[in-house]
Symmetry: C2
Subunit: 356 residues, 2 copies
Amino acid sequence: MWHETKTQSLLNIEYPIIQAGMAGGATTPELVAEVSNSGGLGTLGAGYMAPEQIRSAIQAIKALTDAPFAVNLFIPSPKYSKGEEQSYIETGLKLTERYRQNFNLEKPQVHQVEEDFDEQLNVILEEKVPCFSFTFGLPSADAIQKLKDRAITTLGTATTVNEAIELEKAGIDIVVAQGSEAGGHRGTFLAPSMEQAMIGTMALVPQIVDHVSVPVIASGGIMDGRGVAAALMLGASGVQMGTAFLTCQESGAQDVHKQKILHSSEADTILTKAFSGKEARGIANPFMEEMAEHHDAIPPYPIQNAVTKDIRKASGQQKNPDYMSLWAGQGTRLSEAMTAKELFDKLIEETGALFR
Amino acid sequence: MWHETKTQSLLNIEYPIIQAGMAGGATTPELVAEVSNSGGLGTLGAGYMAPEQIRSAIQAIKALTDAPFAVNLFIPSPKYSKGEEQSYIETGLKLTERYRQNFNLEKPQVHQVEEDFDEQLNVILEEKVPCFSFTFGLPSADAIQKLKDRAITTLGTATTVNEAIELEKAGIDIVVAQGSEAGGHRGTFLAPSMEQAMIGTMALVPQIVDHVSVPVIASGGIMDGRGVAAALMLGASGVQMGTAFLTCQESGAQDVHKQKILHSSEADTILTKAFSGKEARGIANPFMEEMAEHHDAIPPYPIQNAVTKDIRKASGQQKNPDYMSLWAGQGTRLSEAMTAKELFDKLIEETGALFR
């Protein structure tokens, strides 16, 4: 009933199932390689990684698989002047001071708030990574040309139809439609407001499919074979799944994070910009709830992200889920603890007939 | 590939496609009957209708079809004391005074803020309506028993898994899972917050399916055959569609409302409680945007609904979309102007193979 889609051929993979490039340590080389070895596309979430860390991780992945994989980066934010940045950092440190006191942390020196995108991208170009995915906007025309010159397949994130149209116009090969169910950061870069860019996957996918001619990958709330099959019915050429892979054994997510996901319900997540300054979906905890009172004062991404780093780290070290980011989508009741291969095999068992 | 589902047999219909019971005049007897005559289930949205209006509409539907249909009611809100109600009415009138001035409207006497549910239900029982659907909560055990005694099939709205579980426990025959994409009022009645009950259809449906044994109908963002097929893949036994039927010729929605839907994008809707005091999704307009500043002061449903009635009516009479409720889901780019029969036939043409 199903034939090889353009996506499978573009990505040179057997099944159009992509493990999302979640930044922050979850996407270990083991996880990425296991997904790619299973016939899907593993993705290194390298948004927060320094260039040489990215290189090491890519080499580790290559040692574990000959199959295609992707690296995901964040499109850089508008730059602030040194003065603005310093003022934002001070505001952020003040808003979060009480948490530092609780964890006996000294006031940190916040130097670098964001990795250099061009240097990160250079590693991807040099290492000839097969696929490059990104979120929070569009790479420059120059960057896109360099990727094309090396025949690297590009995947961009869209949360609205207009964003998808812009990705196609810029020459991006594949659009990842991120529905409102998705965990972690919203990829939104053009919408009039965040609320208006919270389009459910069921509504978003067919509308994007109707407005671009490149393949569309569905993401947001897809956790099992039912979601994969539904996405294909909506006209998607494949799926991207994050939360489902986050609880896998090979995932580098902290155990306290995995446990929270495994024991959460669909109604436990909310959007927050408390951790990074950019809206993201995670399981509600005291840090998110308390910081919500200061919503309008929270510094923008990536400054708030740099500011909260020590608190998130301390919370994680103490296995305390209350002050760390617990990114998760709305499908949490469907999450399971298993290996990535077991999850992948289960997905194919449930939906394999659709791919042949 | 597909067999008659329990829903089709419970509802005694050919195709498990339900036209949503949208209150406010859209669900004319002609629309309801046309959907039922096509093999689906038409629904009269009677939430705001007086008992004798409901009776007339039911009789008009019966004159147009011998097929099963449903009537939808609102579960009543908690009652306020006369003093509280008067104070809420005054607040509401004050917040909306400027709009009344614009339309040259006199300050209205707000008497009855809600129709009597028991009297509305009595008409349904007396008229032996085949199916009864409801939203905003659960009918009393006594009301459910009366419906069962008359073999009336019941459909209740759930926006979370816990709400679905409560519906099943109360003996309701079918759960309508209302995803966050849906237009109009949220059916939420148990969630910790509205935000936490905004679960996308893709995530909501399979999680509800896993936690109840009654049939589940998917709603929210379903506009065409792709959505119908996707819903079935998620484990739903059928679908409920509102926005798609709102722009049909037989729909009683005002022409200015239909035109706004037909020319809107997926990112044009937001949640508001400006019109009724209860959160609902509609196309953003000046009334919603201006009233958002007073969000916390807006009186609760049904008081605000009674308070804004004259303004909505005046706006509609002037074909001015700025001060009337433009309820719509997130699938607006997929809406089309056609007859209900044409829409229904198109849905069956696109998905018919799944139903046989």
